[in-house]
């Protein structure tokens, strides 16, 4: 492990590190790195290997190298592309709604009023609710006939009362988006609130003196200075949304066009026992998510550098 740590470094010849300090660093880091290497890095490599094999638990003994067959099969299957489309639609709509709602909530919470601390606690409640429970809650609310939503809609004479929400394509995805927005818009709001709190008041005062309206102050002061926080929050949420699994699993088991990338891979792996094909789907999901992840690491690169640099 020490060798690995040393190899990663680019000695700049600027300063010699105490060898004792370096050895201690290696010793203190190695438990974490061993766990991460064994349970994250190694399985990823193994997943790639599995994805290159035709392998099925249903047919004992069937295990042969298949090259890129699993990938060609995945890329040629309409189910895979449906999952891609569903995942991207879900991610796009829910993250956009979460940003809009989260920003509105953050701006309200940033105002000084009595009970602000209480509101912050209240806002954390959906975040504390398990994703599975959030799915159950919204499924209960949209239960056909018995649920709150159909009853309220029919009392108000609005359309949608007779619809089996989770039983119809489009509507099912809408409930999924709603469940996600409810649970995570508050999280977004708290991240953005933290961003708002570091904007100095002087800037607003100066803008006011110059005669800027509230709207102009929002556009010209708040938004530009909040952009870094917005970016990080967006990437955080996008990464989560692309990986979504719990919500479609509990709400519909993937029926009615709600199968996401994680769910289709999981179904092939566990229900259909297609280890090779399922692994190929997992690796494809991994590739999509890691592309966004690189963007994330780039965005927070400054923070990492700040943490890594010597004080």
């Amino acid at each position: 492990m020490e060798a690995a740590t040393a190899k990663l470094g680019r000695p700049r010849g600027r300063r010699r590190y105490g060898s004792g300090e370096r050895r201690l660093a290696a010793a203190m880091l190695s438990p974490a790195l061993v766990v991460i290497a064994l349970v994250a890095a190694y399985p990823i490599g193994y997943a790639i290997w599995l994805s290159l094999n035709e392998y099925s638990v249903r047919v004992p003994g069937l295990s042969r190298f298949a090259g890129f067959d699993n990938y060609t099969e995945a890329l040629g299957s309409p189910e895979f592309w449906n999952a891609v489309v569903t995942t991207f639609i879900f991610t796009g709509i829910s993250v956009a709604l979460e940003l809009a709602l989260g920003l509105a909530m953050a701006l309200a919470m940033h105002e000084a009023f009595r009970g602000r601390g209480l509101l912050r606690t209240v806002v954390l409640v959906p975040w504390a609710v398990l994703t599975v429970v959030s799915a159950i809650t919204w499924r209960t609310i949209f239960e056909p006939n018995l649920g709150l939503a159909p009853q309220v809609l029919s009392t108000l004479g609005l359309p949608g009362a007779d619809i089996v929400w989770l039983g119809e394509s489009g509507y099912a995805l809408a409930v999924m988006v709603l469940a996600d927005v409810w649970k995570t818009a508050p999280f977004m709001a708290l991240l953005l609130l933290a961003g708002l709190q570091v904007i100095p008041d002087d800037l607003y005062d100066a803008a006011k003196v110059d005669g800027a309206t509230t709207w102009q102050r929002f556009l010209r002061v708040t938004l530009p200075l909040l952009t870094p926080a917005i970016l990080v929050a967006l990437i955080f949420r996008t990464l989560d949304a692309l990986r979504i699994f719990d919500l479609p699993y509990v709400l519909t088991r993937g029926a009615n066009d709600t199968t996401t990338l994680s769910l289709i891979a999981h179904t092939e792996l566990t229900s259909n026992r297609l280890i090779g094909y399922g692994s190929a789907l997992s690796v494809l999901t991994f590739v999509v998510v890691m592309a966004v992840s690189l963007l994330y690491i780039r965005t927070v690169g400054g923070n990492i550098r700040a943490l890594a640099e010597e004080k």
């Binding site: 399985p43 309200a108 792996l269 400054g302």
Partner: protein
């Protein structure tokens, strides 16, 4: 920057605001009313769905299909029935043990790594941190199949340790990041004093830094515990019996088995039981949790 904001008076904008009021007198009440409206809406949006679940959990029989805001004849029947369900109580015990062990291990292993990253000098730190952080963005599905196969081969499928290991891996990056941020805030002079007095680096870490970073440990521990308690994909893939399955799996299974008549009341009660501990923790530790959530997001 931040300190300057704090030292400013609470209402620095009064004078210009008054000038504006002479032009537009309506403004004085419009803003507070809109703000309170927003606050009430946010409160209802955040609390109502969970309240509705509690409401349903207290209903039985035909009341379940009513849209009443309060249960007409509240009953704890659903709660007593879930605690008689041995699968559910087993899952509760499993989740408590798995969450507890993972959290303690993540803090132990994570604080070592975080101290090295925050304080010790060695090359390649930036890349190491970047790699560790990128692990937290791995989709769990990508390691689910290989781990399922590996665990079956070595015989730890459907066991506590089979879940604790992957949970530790996913929890460590965030724990390390939060702890490293906290360790850096502790004045270096304190450790240097200990070093001058003849302590080793490791003693300085254990006796000086760790006690001072207690708030950071609480924050990292809470976020780890929330993650483990909530995790579903690996739990549903790597367990198959009440020996190891955790509460989200137990509650989700409740529903799968009864396709035609979903036991609304008992599912709701079970959902409430597994969520209430988290809600209580959020109420107690609101500030700590928000600090942890935002640690990675808006520093500097």
């Amino acid at each position: 920057m931040a300190t300057r904001v704090e030292t400013r008076p609470r209402t620095p904008t009064r004078a210009p605001a008054r000038a504006a009021q002479t032009r537009r007198p309506r403004r004085r009440w419009v803003k507070p009313v809109l703000l309170w409206l927003a606050v009430v809406l946010i409160g209802v949006f955040c609390l109502f769905p969970f309240y509705w679940l509690i409401n349903v959990s207290l209903k039985t029989g035909p009341d379940l299909s009513s849209a009443d805001l309060l249960p007409p004849s509240p009953s704890l029947e659903n709660y007593s029935s879930i605690f008689e369900n041995s699968d559910f109580t087993a899952a509760l015990r499993n989740s408590v043990i798995i969450t507890g062990v993972t959290t303690v291990l993540a803090l132990l292993v994570g604080s070592f790594a975080a101290y090295a990253l925050a304080r010790l000098r060695f090359p390649g730190k930036f890349w190491l941190l970047a790699v560790i952080l990128s692990i937290s963005t791995f989709p769990a599905i990508a390691i689910a199949a290989p781990i399922f196969k590996l665990w079956t081969d070595i015989g730890i499928y459907d066991t506590y340790i089979g879940l604790i290991l992957p949970y530790l891996t996913f929890a460590l990056p965030l724990a390390i990041y939060i702890l490293a941020s906290f360790f850096r805030e502790i004045p270096k002079e304190l450790e240097e004093a200990a070093l001058v007095d003849g302590a080793t680096h490791f003693q300085a870490f254990r006796k000086v830094v760790l006690p001072l970073a207690a708030p950071g440990l609480v924050t990292a521990g809470l976020l780890t515990a929330f993650f483990v308690w909530n995790e579903f994909l690996l739990a549903v893939t790597l367990t198959s019996s009440p020996d190891a399955f955790t509460v989200p799996v137990a509650v989700a299974n409740f529903t799968g088995s009864q396709e035609f008549e979903i036991p609304l009341g008992t599912i709701s009660a079970a959902s409430v039981v597994i969520t209430i501990p988290l809600v209580i923790l959020v109420i107690i530790f609101q500030k700590r949790i928000v600090a942890g959530m935002t640690a990675g997001a808006v520093k500097g």
